[in-house]
Symmetry: C2
Subunit: 618 residues, 2 copies
């Protein structure tokens, strides 16, 4: 295995060429593909771009794209060749030797295989005279050439040293193409590789490609197999990302570039045995995560007492006080909730938010080392005398993730016992934590949890909620000891955002929700009342025992089935402070979801609790 270079097409990133080059370099890319419109809009001449790239340590690996080269109309083909020559001029100044030539989508595209090969060879000859080469790529929606096999047929027939293939994972995998066939192609005919992932969508392939591509590890394609096939066939060029994505196009390019680099590191690791290439170091494997060790809520002087009394009513005991910080430890079963009153946001605003998650790692040091190797932002820690050294990284939504090892030497030792013993109110532990993601960070988050923590992202689902569509996606360990439920507004929210637009929650596991919630209500827990209409609908849809239905009506329980025999009972509290609530959840018969069909009812109820509806008509 030779050295492998990591590249990125400038079209992946938002901004002008200047922004893109700086971001790609800072994220550690070795090279770039110059997307032609970025060059055209730049005030830097091609030679100046080349100098800038050299200064930034970036090679220019590809110029792209050249469209609609071949033509059934000889005059037009002649004009196309003239146009190509002008682009060869640009390439020479830019110092790049390879141009991506897309299969034609034009009405005058050449259907005859030999004539097409002849035209490609003609163009390649002109390129070859100038020391340049053409990488021919089958667009999935090409007029006559739409599979990589068809592009290889054309390249084979043309038989020109300056003509080879550009293989784009999207164009191959979106059409269900088989990368195993790469082995039949001579290695030196693979001129370039473009990598993109994508979700499985039922839509026009061109629209799918132009709007919904993702970085490797964020979508549904098996890119590890794909890449293994291409490397196995002898490809030695850069691993280069080419992702058209509506969100990335308008997001901070510095951040997108890091996300992109993380996707390559993750993909290289997923290659397994054929990796690491010379000159790279594999990240340490992600240690097993065995559970949620704590959830830390940031609170202020207004919300702190409110959350504390809610915890007490939910059956938690205030068992510890941090040695050096204004942090309380509350416990029930194995659930540990920290209330950190050092929030510095506007005083008295009633801020309550998930500040940090503690995840129990079999090797916290290795978890931190891995996180760093896959480009997670590592957080500086102030550590008091006698305090555990907790490594923490920052998740895309700003939540701090601590890798803990609970025990005599571990983090709980930082807390001085209050003397109160953990109560048993029916809560067994933390089931999951629900985190609303910033609009731009949803796909980034799926890959972050996958690459940094070794968790598995599950399918994205969409829910029609009162104030707009919401996308949800869970990430879990394989044995479901760590579960995070991520959600995001399908469109970035605007001015009309009644209620609590981005709530977070901590879901507490119980094996007896009716008993647990009954105790909680008796203790004055701020459980969220749900409408009778909801219970009526449950009664119409499911064969629930009358006793359970009565409890649903009395306690505001929610119920969902998964269509595979599983069921989920859950109840929510009011929103505490500005954005946090608790859920109590009971999983039945192997249910593996998060009650997302109940999200609209819960959101409407949360809004009512904040903004009471008008009084009934007399």
């Amino acid at each position: 295995m030779t050295d492998v270079r990591r590249s990125i097409a400038t079209v992946c990133l938002s901004g002008t060429l200047e922004d893109k080059l700086a971001a790609a370099a800072r994220a550690g890319f070795d090279g770039i593909e110059v997307f032609e419109p970025d060059l055209i809009a730049s005030s830097w001449a091609p030679a100046e771009i080349a100098r800038r790239c050299a200064d930034l340590g970036l090679s220019v690996d590809l110029y792209q794209p050249f469209r609609d080269l071949d033509s059934t109309d000889p005059d037009r083909f002649a004009r196309n060749l003239r146009r190509a020559e002008r682009k060869f001029d640009v390439m020479e100044q830019l110092g790049v030797d390879t141009v991506l030539v897309c299969s034609s989508v034009s009405d005058d595209a050449v259907a005859d295989a030999d004539r097409l090969a002849e035209q490609l060879a003609g163009a390649a000859a002109r390129a070859g005279e100038r020391g340049l080469r053409l990488a021919y790529e089958a667009l999935a929606w090409g007029r006559h050439v739409s599979t990589w096999e068809a592009s290889w047929d054309a390249v084979r027939r043309a038989d020109s040293p300056a003509l080879g293939l550009c293989i784009d994972s999207f164009h191959v995998l979106s059409r269900g193409g088989d990368p195993a066939g790469f082995a039949q192609v001579p290695a030196d005919k693979f001129f370039f590789l473009q990598l993109a992932d994508a979700p499985r969508l039922q839509m026009d392939v061109l629209q799918w490609s132009r709007h919904h591509r993702l970085f490797p590890g964020q979508g549904a394609f098996d890119l590890a197999t794909f890449l293994r096939c291409l490397l196995g066939a002898g490809y030695t060029g850069p691993l280069s990302l080419e992702v058209f994505n509506d969100v990335f196009r308008q997001s901070d390019p510095w951040r997108t570039a890091v996300d992109a680099m993380r996707s390559l590191v993750w993909l290289e690791e997923a290659l397994g045995a054929v990796w690491p290439a010379a000159g790279t170091t594999a990240p340490p494997p992600a240690p097993d995560l065995s559970g949620h060790s704590f959830v830390e809520l940031g609170v202020d002087g207004v919300s702190g007492p409110q959350v504390g009394s809610a915890l007490a009513a939910l059956g938690f005991a205030h068992t510890g006080q941090h040695r050096s910080k204004p942090v309380q430890l509350w416990e029930q079963g194995t659930a540990k909730v920290l209330l950190n009153a050092s929030v510095t946001r506007p005083a008295g605003a009633g801020v309550a938010a998930v500040a940090a998650l503690g995840l129990e790692s079999e090797d916290p040091g290795r978890s931190a080392a891995r996180a760093e190797a896959v480009l997670a932002p590592i957080l500086p820690r102030t550590r008091g005398a006698n305090e555990a050294d907790l490594s923490a990284v920052e998740a895309p939504d700003g939540t701090q993730i601590f890798f803990t090892r609970t025990g005599p030497e571990g983090w709980p030792a930082d807390f001085l016992a209050t003397g109160a013993a953990p109560a048993d109110g029916g809560v067994r532990g933390i089931d999951h934590v629900g985190l609303t993601q910033p609009f731009d960070a949803f796909d980034e988050a799926g890959l972050f949890y996958r690459a940094v923590l070794g968790l598995e992202p599950h399918a994205v689902a969409e829910v029609a909620a009162p104030y707009g569509l919401i996308r949800t996606r869970s990430v879990t360990d394989t044995s479901r000891r760590v579960r995070l439920a991520l959600s995001v507004s399908a469109l970035r929210r605007g001015g009309w955002t009644p209620g609590v637009p981005d709530p977070q929650y901590v879901a507490l596991a119980t094996d007896d929700i009716v008993g647990t919630v009954t105790r909680m209500r008796a203790a004055g827990a701020p459980l969220l009342p749900l409408p009778a209409n909801y219970a009526d609908d449950l009664e119409a849809r499911f064969d629930l025992p009358q006793g359970l239905l009565a409890a649903v009506r009395e306690h505001g329980l929610m119920y969902e089935e998964d269509g595979e025999g599983g069921g989920y009972l859950h109840a929510a509290t009011s929103v505490l402070g500005d954005r946090v609530f608790f859920e109590v959840v009971q999983r039945l018969r192997g249910y593996d979801g998060y009650g997302s069909t109940d999200l609209p009812v819960r959101m409407a109820a949360h809004r009512r609790a904040r903004t009471p509806a008008p009084a009934p008509v007399a």
Copy 2:
């Protein structure tokens, strides 16, 4: 023609049921369809909802949807009937007699036509016993029933008085269905009509339906013909809107409801001879608009002098001063630009924005009456002694639209002559005005200009710009004397918005762009420099005369062709104040566009002019 009632499905509007009912009532709807999830999430019992609706003057016209009624599994069918009976309970309390039954999408859906009819008849019999009825609708993606003809076949076979059809324009027209066939169906079998428009999209029909429906007049469907066929076949129920749209789902429901009502008024008018129904009054027809009489820019103490000196350099003369307001009139050719210094936004911020457009109407009074009839917000006017009475409405982006009649008695008489004569610097008049729309208002704007002003909205196009995708759409009169170029960010902008995120511009027409721009540059106009790379690309792509290419390079001209022989030469100025610039444009050989392919180059250049790029490498 009997009285016709206008209804709206609650799913069209954002918010909780409470928000939706209030918004529908205020916009003047007669009735609603209750979308079941809205009822389920409401704290109002069905009878309470009925009372609320009665108080608001809304009838409940439909309960919807009931899904997956039929089943090949007898036990499941029995359970489905039981579920239906529970929903009939809700309907009785809600005071609604019709429920929408969708064709099944389930694996166990009944394929056999007679068995399906038998099951539908069985359910209808139960409904009929309670005085209720089922409106059966073919979902375009139904498992066995996916066309309205198939749904009619089932209803015909079932032959039950409590079973009829619900016709949904989306489901019919998305599949290319022919509404002419409605004439073959007995009138009393049309129980309900749901209206939705949509853009033509190449995508999975379910996704198209769930995310991209539009109100009538906003999309590509021929709803007038559709509705004429259904009314001709004897349908007498409500005209009811059912629109699933990602943007409307999260936009202010008060505003969406008005947009929805406008779409029905527009559609009814488009019916022509069969309209108006008894009890309705047709809006006065839109008077001919014969041109842009003026563009008014709101400026402040900082931007006013800057815009004034730019206008002077562009060849305008300051010809008039308003009698009572701090407004200057600048003229060149027929182009009139007003600078209104009464902007009250933060002093000294350099505000410069299009405040108003004057459109020359053959009958300003009738234009205003029509605007009011189609629910445009009418603006109050303060009118000085001896001043023209100008009627104005507010467009969705806040721009004021004045209907003018230029002449001795018209608006220019409000200005006292300065003595300066209009110069002739080569500008003939105003070609068009470019208005960036608020994210939520793009589809609303297309219908607004169509319904209020009688302009024609053209196809939506998408451009990949440096900071994200941009959608563009023009609205024009048929003879192109009034042109507006609307644009919007394809996703709502977030924190990463370098440059000027929402610029507006005034495009000035010339018949000799090279001469005109040469004079402007000599006079010191702030023309925007464009990169040499752009001119190099033009040279590669087009057969432009060398003289023109030299002018392109010297003056920063942009050039686009339309593929039909037409061409467009244009040049932009820097952004003046915070968001306005001018263009100078020359249309060649019947070109009818707005140079949108040049948008990325122009945007990047505008950003450079604001935030200079780093100095070249030495």
